[in-house]
């Protein structure tokens, strides 16, 4: 690995937290090659930080003994590694064929109107980010979306309203 003593303008690797390291260390035991853990490590960081900042990316790369460039090549390949900040809840909204047949476009418009965000945007309060996702494998209960680890199925505008008002109340 090259050390280029960094000048002030460039991002510098942050320190990984003990938990992050611990979890990454565990992953390392499962693969014969450190590099294989790259994606897992990014997911671990994302789980803790919400997204993968340059500083986090560099930290992970350093920890795995690979270059940040190479790791970013992996990070940016995958849909679910967020290289920009996202809201506290990421809504993965299925827009694939079965959901489309079942009217997901209307549901998406409804969500967009309600939250005031389009795909790729985050609500002003940093609560929600809306992202399209390829087929969630729940086509018999379309339209569906995944939020906060929970799959919401057979969506209707009413159901959407219910979900979001419920969450607003719980907050």
């Amino acid at each position: 690995m090259n050390i280029i003593a960094t000048s002030s303008a460039r991002p510098v690797a942050r320190a990984l937290t003990v938990e992050e390291k611990h979890e990454i260390d565990h992953e390392m035991t499962l693969y014969p090659d450190k590099k294989a853990v790259g994606l897992e490590a990014l997911k671990i960081v994302q789980k803790h930080q919400g997204w993968v900042s340059d500083e986090s990316l560099m930290a992970v790369a350093e920890y795995l003994g690979m270059s940040a460039h190479e790791l970013d090549g992996v990070a940016t390949f995958f849909n679910l590694i967020f290289r920009r900040p996202v809201g506290r809840n990421v809504i993965l909204f299925c827009d694939s064929v079965s959901c489309w047949i079942m009217g997901c476009d209307g549901i998406k418009d409804h969500i967009s109107k309600r939250l005031g965000i389009d795909y790729g945007q985050t609500t002003a309060d940093g609560e929600y980010t809306l992202l399209p996702v390829p087929c969630l494998g729940d086509c018999d209960r379309a339209p569906v979306m995944l939020m906060d680890g929970e799959q919401h199925r057979n969506l209707t505008p009413e159901k959407i309203d219910q979900i979001f008002s419920q969450r607003a109340k719980n907050k």
Binding site: I4, S67, H69
Partner: protein, 924 residues
Amino acid sequence: MAKITVDGIVYEVNPQNNLLQECLSHGLDLPYFCWHPCMGSVGACRQCAVKQYRNADDKTGVVVMSCMTPASDGAIISIADAQAVKMRSNVIESLMISHPHDCPVCEEGGECHLQDMTQMSGHNYRRYDFKKVTHRNQNLGPFINHEMNRCIACYRCVRYYDDYAGGKDLAALGSHHHVYFGRHEEGTLENEFSGNLVEVCPTGVFTDKTFSEHYTRKWDLQTAPSVCTGCGAGCNTTPGERYGTLRRIVNRYHHDLNGYFLCDRGRFGYGYNSSDRRITEASLVSTHDDEKGVRKSLTTQEAQRQFDAMTAGDVVGIGSPRTSLENNLALRARVGVKNFYAGFSAEQQRCVQAVIAINREQGLHCPDIRTLEQADCVLVVNEDITNTSPRFALALRQAVRNRASQLATDARIPLWQDAAVRELAQNELSPLFILSPQGTRLDDVATDTFLGTTAQQIALLAAVANIIDASVGNAATDTHGEEGARRIASALITARHPCIVSGISAGSEALIHATANVARALRKYSVQSDAIDVCFAMPESNTMGLALLMEEGGGTLDDALQRLARGEADAAIVLENDLTLRTTPEAIDAALSRTPAVVVIDQLHNEFNARAQLLLPSTSFAEQNGTLVNYEGRAQSSHQVFQADAALRPGYEWLTPVDPLSLVLTTSETILYHSAQTLSVLSGAEKLLPPRTGIQALMKSPRQSHRYSGRTAMNANLNVHEKKQPADRESAMSFSMEGLPLQKDASLLSAAWAPAWNSNQAISKFQDEINGELKQGCKGVHLLQRTLEPHVAARVSSSADNSVVYFIDHIFGSEELSAASPAITARSVGAYLCVGEADAQRLGLQQHGRAEISSGAHTAQLPVLIRQRIAPGAIGIYCGGEINRHAFANGVSISAVAEDSNVLVRSRQMFSELVISDSQQGRG
């Protein structure tokens, strides 16, 4: 040999190759992008589609990628088949949908593989009428431009930069039609071979930034075959000129040496040619009382008259390892052999002489660079080759992959299946051992890097030799050394093609002997041939040439300076040499103070030649013809590219007055021809000269392309009459577009071009097969013959060299001329001191603080770099053109300097430009 049928014609092929490679080898035009002769196939671009038939009865066939299909015996394919043609035109249409079509303003225009392939694949009408994908570009530092919108996603850049050159900071990012090739954050590309991206990229994404600053189309450049002056490797280059200035350097294929690739010093180090440090006129320091010490310019005639007058008496001539044989020969002729002295430092001369003897010894063999690539076990001794002879390092990165080739061959995976071979081999690499005082840039692919001072390295080498052959070398003194020596020895013994690489930068003869002894010991295990490969990198472009010349008589630099200091000469002529790089200030002062007249012929102003009474401007490598001898003893011709301003002359022209009888000026050719007849070390060198019979004797080779434009208008601002083209009275080349067409005679091949092939990839048309020898042209002449009996050298004792100070080299900055090029300067750092953590603590030094070093009367304050990877006790000094190495060569004392924070910040900033490897781990 196997046979394949292409569109009804039968060709003989090598079944180990793929169809694309074989089609190209046979001169067929088949478009491609992702395939590269050195990087094999990955099947990404799909441009090389052909139709393949199962047998003679198969009339339907299937479309296959020729680069991914073996050229197996009996294969029947068609390039012309309608479906294949359609496929290729679809591919190029796709590739062009987001291309900006900015050829008129694109630096690649006119030598663009994408343009060529677009033509060849028949795409001329744009059907795509949607928005193009666009990208943001990155600033990649002083060498390389980045224009991602031109990208066609062939993946060649990352395959070259990461997989081939070992770069870590360029990646494919994103996916689908948004793939992006760049760094994860903007910044200078770190790899020392980044410039090859310019040639590897088939379009204008990566272009030469130094060239952009004074851009000219390829066809408007005047070019000639040249040899790089960046180090002693002898890589072949093609410099290009327009309007009297050098515009760029590109690679020129040499089968045995550089192949397709140069290092960044060689490519971007030409800028000094037009830098403001260039000596542009002759000048004389006045001796008249009223204006004593004032430097006044002279006309060329005046200068020549002065020169002759000043050097009429007893003259000492000091030659140069960084200029041609011809210039040195001219000096030698002028002053006479007994007054001719080498321009090396004393220890350098001893080292080169030792190397020459090794290069003459039977049973040893000096590998060319291609042979280095084929080594399956390499031992690098002391030399930091990435920084001293960089092209070697790129070759060793290929050598470590021979393990992969072996595994693939065993698994019957064709070697051109690039991804599959890498996948199969994973991290398995052929053994590479490095002995070095500090971590090197090759450590990431090394089996092990043993950090040690020169004495420790000698001891380890002796132990290795001893294990291999007990009659050579000494047993290790400690178990740690023993274990390391065992590993190295057993790897060398079991290798089919071991290779030992070193150099002379340590200036230690003992180290050279210890290194050679390992090779000598290995002889008895030699499997493949009866000689063991061992080579020594040479620091300058003609170090070896000058050293050879000295065998024909002449003294050392010390002799010269002592003679001058004794006041025994009336004048000294110093040829292209900054003596402060060769000896101590005291020695120079003593010599100059007693010498009435000092004449220096040189290209760039420096502190030393500022002290010359008469300073004569010399042409650069691009402005003169000359012969350079590389580390192997291979003499190669470097041709003049363009005519310099009349005030500048090649050294040999200043030195050799007009022959009053014949009234013919001496030419570089006559100097070489004559010397080859009379000096035994140069015998055979006349073969470098163009044939004196046949068509080449009648017609010259043009330096300008047949499309060279604007010649009649070039000087129109000065005079409406078209200037007569200068005549080249010296060489087989002409300063014009007329002459022997390349297609008839390519023996002087500078810029490859063939119909439909405007890019550098046209080179395949001049090779006997892909990656093969050039069909015509001279590979150089080997001046060294193996005439000495094999012998077992004396054991070398490690106490033969006890220095702890070692001098650091940097690819950007350590070579005198290239260091004065703006792009190189931008990547260079100033002098610094380097120590390990423990030593820093002992000496009270702080990271990025300053240390005062002193040796005798000399002191200097240097920023401190504390490195993890450095031999305990070793002290590294990088001179950076600021301090005199010889003043500190005999040991230094070090003390810390109290620091204010400004200094810390400044030196931290300086070190941020420095690319070094300092990782504990080798190759994982």
